[in-house]
Symmetry: C3
Subunit: 345 residues, 3 copies
Amino acid sequence: MTKTNPGRFFEDFSVGETLVHATPRTLTEGDRALYTALYPTRFALYSSDPFARECGLPESPLEDLVGFHVAFGKTVPDVSLNAVANLGYAECRFLAPVFPGDTLATSSEVIGLKQNSNGRTGIVWVRSTARNQTGADVLTWVRWVMVRKRDPEAPAPAETVPELAAAVAAEDLVLPDDNFGFQNYDFDLAGEPYRLDDYEVGEVIDHVDGATVAEAEHMMATRLWQNTAKVHFNTEAREDGRRLIYGGHVISLARALSFNGLANAQAIAAINGGSHANPCFAGDTVYAWSEVLDTAALDVPGVGALRLRLVATKGRQETPRLRGEDGKYLPEVLLDLDYWALVPR
Amino acid sequence: MTKTNPGRFFEDFSVGETLVHATPRTLTEGDRALYTALYPTRFALYSSDPFARECGLPESPLEDLVGFHVAFGKTVPDVSLNAVANLGYAECRFLAPVFPGDTLATSSEVIGLKQNSNGRTGIVWVRSTARNQTGADVLTWVRWVMVRKRDPEAPAPAETVPELAAAVAAEDLVLPDDNFGFQNYDFDLAGEPYRLDDYEVGEVIDHVDGATVAEAEHMMATRLWQNTAKVHFNTEAREDGRRLIYGGHVISLARALSFNGLANAQAIAAINGGSHANPCFAGDTVYAWSEVLDTAALDVPGVGALRLRLVATKGRQETPRLRGEDGKYLPEVLLDLDYWALVPR
Amino acid sequence: MTKTNPGRFFEDFSVGETLVHATPRTLTEGDRALYTALYPTRFALYSSDPFARECGLPESPLEDLVGFHVAFGKTVPDVSLNAVANLGYAECRFLAPVFPGDTLATSSEVIGLKQNSNGRTGIVWVRSTARNQTGADVLTWVRWVMVRKRDPEAPAPAETVPELAAAVAAEDLVLPDDNFGFQNYDFDLAGEPYRLDDYEVGEVIDHVDGATVAEAEHMMATRLWQNTAKVHFNTEAREDGRRLIYGGHVISLARALSFNGLANAQAIAAINGGSHANPCFAGDTVYAWSEVLDTAALDVPGVGALRLRLVATKGRQETPRLRGEDGKYLPEVLLDLDYWALVPR
């Protein structure tokens, strides 16, 4: 009998079951410092306790993506160890901030199954929820992955395909705290003067700066989230001998680069969906641009939301462009992320 | 007069003297975060405050090897700066957990001396002890190193060779706290269902995963422990221009990889001995396997101990194997470590 | 309209104006741990809470250079984004220690302007001040940079060239705390036995050790200080495709290496000036030596100050040497820093 985790195969999942993921994680100021060392982030809300207090929070929370990466990483051994592909995510909502000292534990409910026509793989949908030490929901999202079958002869399960929203509705966005607000917002300390109304739908912002990724950086980041996917760490895991950079590393890099032009897009309130269009490797220089997809005034004085497309590219594009004439992502596009951020209005 | 530390030579040691090592070190959540970023560790006891509290501790301690590396690093400038070889260690006992905020100070007593027949080197045995800010012993161990003589004509000291135990006896293992126990142990959160009785002597567990080491990673780790041995940091220190990876880095890597199959081997209670069989360099992909050497039920309800051989290899062996037909370590074997871990029973 | 920061050009500065720099930064134990992982530092005052308490501080502060790098980094987007050259700094005084939890915010006053005769660039002098969350001054310094003009036809401003002291006077040095002192100083724990009087003016100390820099290390450090200068992170920013290492990284490396021979030069009280004589790149092995420039007994029992020249070199010099026969820095000299450190007397 082997005691090591072989991962779940397609026929091991059943709709309605709950997977309790191992190794809850207490997050601390150490995680914040590493996040700052690994990504060029400068959002004031996540950098300064006094600034966070002026926004109605008791102290500066950890960046929203820290919680996302940790919660996501926990699901890997149980959901995607035998995944052929990560197909997508949706309905990701940030429900409570993560403060240093908070502990996240994650579980997932299987909400969909569909065997592929080849009979050798299937698609698994899970809704994952991270809760903190008080039991409060911190983060919830749906992801779907293509998973290998252990036995191609195993019967196909009943097909269940969940309906997923194309985007979280603005009125469903949750603020970090009942006292959260931007009444005392200091635009000088935040770094830019722009409010909700300064952004218009369709506007594209080139974030200018680029970051060349080193091997040690993406491995340290991915380990910090306790993500165990072999391809990120082991040159013997892929035929080409290259370590594939965790997609979330590219998200965090692009989000940090977006400070330059979106310094006031302080908090991430939801991720509507995302595609990792092409693989990223050490040595690549990552640039980013954003497109304003929607704007919304929230039901709280002074707070608005920007729906943004955040695009990461390998090398800088002369003109921000997502797809070629064939409708496919351009080869230099690494990431196409659709999310909501909270901004002063 | 030079003010820099030339290190001690063989004739500078005398049996019975105590060396007070410089730079006590306050350990914090920052050290934990870096440990998590540098090693793929997922043991729940060291990752989650609530999990640790369910085991009877006030909060999650730092990984036992953090204390070991820091305490060990302190001894380098006084003991092994002029070492030709690190020959071994023994009787390493973990006597108290290290919590964030604790400060470790280390001193060593010289307990043995033996000049080599060549007259140019000798062996020095020291028993080192790390104490925390309350004066409590946290860690104690014996190591012996071969040290150069400053003056080959200096007379040989009286020969003293200490008797060392082949292994710490199970009944001498110290639990992290009087309240420590596994009564409330959550096997789902820990990641695996196995208890003491599920392991049998002679069982071998292949931990499957591998990690390819980057230069920046091992240097950051080794600096974090304030270990000053030149060969780890300076390409000009060895004739081959390569930076030798600190042996403790390989121990931590292998221990972290062993989670996969030994997720419940939570705490390290003792290290009986270890050999760094071959050098490790950046670019090597480190794998690990374990062999169960002994099992013991401890005198506390629900707590047992596994004596394990932890082996790190460069590249994955088809079949776990330690030595060739000549009785020597195989060239791919990096580490052969003999330790006791606490597990639920 | 672009929303990204194009940086200020020479004609955007006017004498007397104050620039409020973005993104205040709360510093924590996470920053300390990363500092320790990135630089081989072992000064006891910054490593151990009990040691710091024996020196009259409530706990161990962060290394003085942490505050310097963070405060300096903040000024980059507003002062030197379009800089052609960083020309120098002076009158840098450390006025209060930075403890974990403190938040630094930085602003700069423009104190000098001088257009160059080519009409295309000019020199800008700013006096920058970092304050903590109580409003107390933590750090103040002057730097001057050569900045491009946006429009070469723009009229030259009135010329104002500030007078700057060649060195901070010993009697103007500020101690970290009213209770600061070395009466209970433990030389064993500090690592060396030398007091103020053991050093003499003109004495040169070769710090022996070297550190070969990895790409990930200097980028992580520079990001940690939220320094955004492109040349440190982006292989596409310079024609030679190399990432220039932030000069402050070399300062911290050299200062940490100087422990070996200057273990008791605990606190940095002032930086009188500095030159980054030659660029440093990953792969370089950095060594350091110091020259004692001055000594002073301060007006506090047991406390003295050493004025030191700290020199970093690429590769180890056989004999410490700063300049060639032509009076220019030797090509292997990376850094020539003039600072005051507090030592027991």
